[in-house]
Amino acid sequence: MGHDHPHDHTDPPSDPALRVKALESLLVEKGLVDPAAIDAIIETYETKVGPRNGAKVVARAWTDPAFKDLLLSDANTAINSMGYAGRQGEHMKVVENTNTRHNLVVCTLCSCYPWTVLGLPPVWYKSAPYRAQAVSDPKGVLAEFGTTLPQGSKISVWDSTSEMRFLVLPQRPEGTDDWSAEQLEDLVSRNSMIGVEVALTPTELKAIQAGEAS
C-alpha cells in the first residue's frame, strides 16, 4: 500500500510475500512486466555479477602495477576492460589502503553499492545500524567485525551520496609474494572491498578451507 493515507503505524504490516505476489500478477496481467525478465535479473546476480568480479580486479591490481595505476586514476576504464560494467557501476572510484590509511565505504542515505564488482549488498550494509555508525564511529564498526588496524593507521570513510561508487583496494597480505593472481583472488573477501575487514591471510584462508572441507 502507498503511505499517503493516514493510518496507525502500530498495525502489523501486511505480509510482503503476498503483496509482492499480488503486484507481480497485476503487472504481468497488465502487460507491463515479463516474469522471465525477473528470472533473468535474479539469475544475473546469483550467478554472474558478484564479489568474485571485484576479487579479480583486486588480485590483478596486486600483480600488475600498470593495471593498478590505471585502476586508481581511471577506475572505469580499468574495471570495464575486465568486462565488468553497467548498473550501479557506471561511475567508479577505487580507494587504496596503505600502512597509514584504511578506507571504509557506506551509504548513509540509502544503500548505494558497486553492484558491477560486488553484486547485491549484504543485509548489514543496508541496515540502519551500519549506516548510522560508519560515519560517526568507524573504529567501533571495525571492532564489531573483529578488525583491528595497525598503530598509526587512520580511517577514511566514503559516504556514497552521489552516483559515484567506491571500491576499496585492500593491502596485499604478507607471505604471498609467489602467489598468482588466480590464487590471490581467494584472499579477497567481499568485506575487505567494503573496508570493514582486511584481506585474508594465507593462514586464515587455509583454516576456512579446512573448515569447509570437514
Partner: protein
C-alpha cells in the same frame, strides 16, 4: 528532507550483527527476489528516475521506514510510484487484478527477458554537462550551506553547516534535488573531506568523504 533515511550519526539502533560473509545467502526469502526484479523491470517502464524512486522510499513515515526491511522499503516505494505515476490504480493494487486497460505507450516498454543482459550491462550513466562555471578547485575550504529542504536532497544533515575541503572533482552530474521533481540538470560535483573531530567532537581522528553538488556549498 529530514527523514528517517538520513541516518549518519544516529544512536540507539543497536549492534550491526553482520552475518558471516561465507554464510550469508544472497536473498533471505523468495519474495525478495521478485521484489528486486519487479523494482527493476517496473523502473524500465521509464515513468520515474532514480531520485524520484529514492524519494518515494524516504518519505514514508519514519516508524515505517525504520521498521521495514530493505526490500520492504523497495516494495513500499514501488507501490507508491506505480499509483502516483498512474501506471496502476489504487483499486488495482488493492485487488491485484487489472481493472483498466493499459495504454500501448506503456506496454510497448515492457522489457523481455532477452533484453535484460543488455540493460543491466549498459546501466544508466548520470553525468550531464553544464555550462555554469566551476566555483571550487581541489584544496578549497568550503562550508555546506545550512538548509532544510522538504524535498529530496543528497546533502546529509550531519555535514550541513560544517567546513570541509574539496578533495576531488568528479565532473558535472545530474542534480538529485531537481531530478526528483522531474527536472534534469547537470551541476558540478565535488568530493569534500571533513575532519572527524569537526563533525563528531574531540577524539575522532577519521576523515569523512562526502560527494556534494556545487549548490550545496559556499566558500568558507
Amino acid at each position: 528532507m529530514n527523514g528517517a533515511h538520513d541516518l549518519g550519526g544516529m544512536h540507539g539502533l543497536g549492534p550491526i550483527n553482520p552475518e558471516p560473509e561465507r554464510e550469508e545467502p544472497l536473498f533471505h526469502a523468495e519474495w525478495e527476489k521478485r521484489a528486486l526484479g519487479l523494482t527493476l523491470t517496473a523502473g524500465w517502464l521509464g515513468q520515474w528516475n532514480i531520485d524520484i524512486s529514492r524519494h518515494a522510499r524516504e518519505r514514508q513515515h519514519p516508524v515505517t521506514y525504520l521498521s521495514n526491511s530493505y526490500y520492504e522499503n523497495w516494495l513500499a516505494g514501488l507501490e507508491t510510484l506505480l499509483v502516483e505515476q498512474g501506471v496502476v490504480t489504487p483499486e488495482e493494487l488493492e485487488q491485484g487484478k487489472a481493472l483498466e486497460p493499459t495504454p500501448e505507450s506503456l506496454t510497448s516498454k515492457c522489457a523481455p527477458a532477452s533484453a535484460v543482459a543488455n540493460i543491466l550491462s549498459s546501466g544508466g550513466p548520470c553525468d550531464l554537462a553544464t555550462e555554469a562555471p566551476q566555483h571550487f578547485k581541489i584544496g578549497d575550504k568550503v562550508r555546506v550551506i545550512q538548509f532544510n529542504p522538504t524535498g529530496h536532497t543528497r546533502a546529509p544533515r550531519y555535514v550541513r553547516g560544517h567546513i570541509g575541503s574539496i578533495s576531488d572533482y568528479h565532473g558535472s552530474f545530474i542534480l538529485p534535488d531537481e531530478n526528483s521533481t522531474g527536472n534534469k540538470i547537470g551541476q558540478h560535483l565535488y568530493n569534500v573531506s571533513f575532519d572527524g573531530d569537526m563533525l563528531w567532537g574531540p577524539g575522532n581522528d577519521s576523515t569523512i568523504h562526502v560527494d556534494l553538488w556545487q549548490s550545496y556549498l559556499e566558500k568558507a
